[in-house]
Subunit: 283 residues, 2 copies
């Protein structure tokens, strides 16, 4: 069961927020969904393709919803957008709200195994299984036409999820993704915290490690601002590019001059990403 929190008409469609009880995260979760005009009962458009957006650190379901401008293109292209939260909330784990890059708003799209976190921090299962089931049950979503994209931590989520489920997602793209968390400070902190210190267990949540281990997708689109403060230390897209080259995975890595890590950057290239996914989703 899902409970509607708000509904706003936008570009002829409806932008809505819902809460629901999540089994994977054992807490109430919030997600936003944009239903384009083609999804209205009057349109009788049958089922529509779905594009999942995964946000970055510090975000919830509202950042992309209000700042990226993606609904403009989803309305034109007839794509349902789904924008989940970035972690469980209010689950009373000691320290869950102490830092911006671990715990609340930093779920990292994995299933935690450490004792303190494993009962709630299962964003991987939530995004890959529970949420799509919910979406398909409640909205005119086509289970055979799904794609996924995201930003920063959410770019990491989109890439790892697509690499591990190439048959479930028609396409994947990312803005300024964390591509090799095992090798960078943000990643080392959260992987240790959620999975423990055995670095072998980190590999299934590390895009570069997954590709090196043989996982693949048909194509990857990445947009990366050259003026991004996190580029050199945390993001390192060159590691993804090298891994893709080694394994013959086609990648379009657009390094764009002057752009930073913000939603001003995302808004500037969201049209390109929507049209990219639309081509794969065959709309």
């Amino acid at each position: 069961m899902i409970n509607e929190v708000s509904s706003n008409k936008m570009f002829g469609g409806l932008h809505k927020r819902f809460t629901h009880r999540s089994a994977a995260c054992d807490c109430d979760m919030t997600f936003a969904i944009y239903l384009p005009p083609q999804a209205s009962p009057q349109a009788d458009g049958g089922t529509l393709p779905v594009l999942y957006w995964l946000s970055g650190l510090t975000c919830n379901d509202e950042n992309f919803s209000t700042q990226a401008g993606a609904q403009r293109y989803a309305a034109e292209l007839g794509i349902i957008l789904v924008m989940p939260d970035t972690s469980p909330r209010g689950v009373n784990i000691p320290g869950e709200d102490d830092s911006y890059d671990f715990g609340s708003a930093a779920g990292f799209y994995l299933n935690a195994t450490e004792k303190l976190w494993c009962n709630h921090y299962n964003m991987y299962d939530y995004i890959v299984k529970e949420l799509p089931d919910l979406i398909e049950k409640n909205f005119p979503a086509d289970p055979d036409r799904q794609s996924i994209f995201g930003h920063s931590m959410g770019g990491h989520g989109a890439l790892t999820i697509a690499l591990k489920n190439p048959d479930r997602y028609q396409s994947v793209s990312a803005f300024a993704p964390i591509v090799a968390p095992s090798q960078v400070p943000w990643g080392k902190k959260v992987l240790t915290g959620y999975l423990g210190s055995d670095e072998d267990s980190w590999e299934e949540y590390d895009s570069v490690a997954l590709i090196n281990g043989g996982k693949r997708v048909d194509h990857i689109l990445v947009s990366q601002g050259k003026a991004d403060d996190f580029l050199a230390e945390q993001l390192k897209p060159e590691l993804l590019e090298a891994a893709c080259k080694e394994k013959d995975i086609p990648i379009t890595l657009n390094i764009v001059d002057g752009y930073d890590h913000s939603y001003f950057f995302i808004a500037s290239f969201v049209e390109e990403h929507l049209r990219y996914h639309a081509a794969y989703l065959n709309v």
Copy 2:
């Protein structure tokens, strides 16, 4: 002198925030500006037209900046966008922060005459004189090509300012504007508070009263959501329509089904407003 607070590349141009000392408001003020790609020194595009945006109650310079998506079209059309704050801030007037619809974030784009407010709450002078001077001095802005638009309280500001300065603004438009503040609760409260109880003094900040008194512009564009919770009690666009009809002022009043008072509504129609102004600004 203006002090840059932030600069973010967006749609090939730059979205910037500045603070400066305002003489009109006798305090530090913040504004945002979007400089389209045509404004870059490399583009050598000469001066560009400027479109001023006035936000509504509770807003500051960031709401429209981050949520409307207008930069996409300003970049295409070669228009500079200027997005000021909605009131003086932190001027230590008793009660300034007590309500959402009076004081901070509710400057109402007028010059206050009441003793408590008149030293700071002079948003009319700030928007019409001080800010344009600053913009023209610091950016490649064409003083002969200016237009103005806004939302709710800011729609009121745009309409009254354009009606009182028809030679300064090439065009005016509004989203869900307050059109007759003298006749509605929001307006009566703030006009009494800033101007006192002599209702004659309210007329120069009331679009319907200004039109009835002979002020005019060449054309008015208004977008109004039919599902706007404030429509019947606070906005009353039919009063503006009737006044325009009486005085033969052409008005396009688009009442749009299902849309509310939010930025989801604004984002949906901002392209139409930008293209409307572009036609008058001759870009």
